[in-house]
């Protein structure tokens, strides 16, 4: 019975989390907090359409943005798919987009602004 009482006391007391001081002072590091020299920023061009055929994707203007290292489309990646048990979601759209926000192009650039500007400049023609 004493063991049960002891266990209840122990269970009721919040544990002093070892990472507590790091989290409450903002010094715990999360993935987005990591900065490395020479790192690039990623931005996507995403479909505004829920479902459409992709007629063409023109990345020439995107590639001209200073600081851009690469612009990839489904034509570059090929049939790469994401998913858990069912790999059914193309990483970058190829013949069609199937959800608002479907990724059509990926940009890697030296700054967040350059990556986002280049992503906006990817010219996609859709057809219903």
């Amino acid at each position: 019975m004493q063991a049960l009482a002891d266990a209840q006391d122990w269970l009721l007391e919040p544990e002093y989390r070892v990472e507590g001081p790091l989290k409450v002072t903002g010094s715990a590091r999360y993935t987005a907090d990591v900065q490395m020299p020479g790192m690039l920023w990623l931005a996507y061009n995403r479909s505004p359409r829920a479902h459409a055929r992709v007629v063409s994707v023109d990345v020439s203007a995107a590639r001209m943005v200073p600081g851009v290292h690469a612009v990839l489309t489904g034509a570059d990646t090929g049939n790469v798919r994401l998913g858990r048990r069912l790999l059914d979601w193309p990483a970058l759209a190829r013949d069609r987009v199937r959800i608002v926000g479907d990724r059509v192009a990926a940009v890697a650039a030296e700054t967040r602004d350059a990556a986002e500007e280049a992503a906006r400049l990817v010219d996609v023609v859709y057809e219903d």
């Binding site: 070892v18 507590g20 001081p21 989290k23 409450v24 002072t25 903002g26 010094s27 999360y30 900065q35």
Partner: protein, 171 residues
Amino acid sequence: MSMASQHLLRFELNGAHHELEVRANRRLIDLLRDDLGLTGTKEGCSVGVCGACSVLIDDQLMSACLVPALFVDGSRVTTIEGLAPDESHLTPVQDAFIRHGGFQCGICTPGQIIAATALLQEHPRPTVDQVKGWMMGNLCRCTGYYKIIESILAAAEADTRPVLRQPVGIS
């Protein structure tokens, strides 16, 4: 393609004076996290509804994702890194969040603590309803909020002096 103009920004950040050239379209959150390396302030939603980027500007609670960096010219800015008086102490709010389980993953925690600090500056002995009303702008996906409210109420009851910080790895 034209670039936003650059201007001189002079402000006080966590007690230290800073002067730097900043583009007109730079957000405060990017200045803090990317330019100044203070990654304690987190970006959750980018549109000012989640509270993860909460900072104090002249003691006012604000979302850094909505503030152009140049707006803090001549102001005092306090981030999560600037609350504790030194490396070996925590504020009562920070200590209460640890002792009362006010966080799990911790990503919303800097924003919660900044908001709670502002609350207790305004209402040193808040009611539960005052805590809930004030903290409505700070979302949390992990805790269910009960422990956050409990932590804040505990901090309100606690001594106002800084608490000695326990080294990481010892409980």
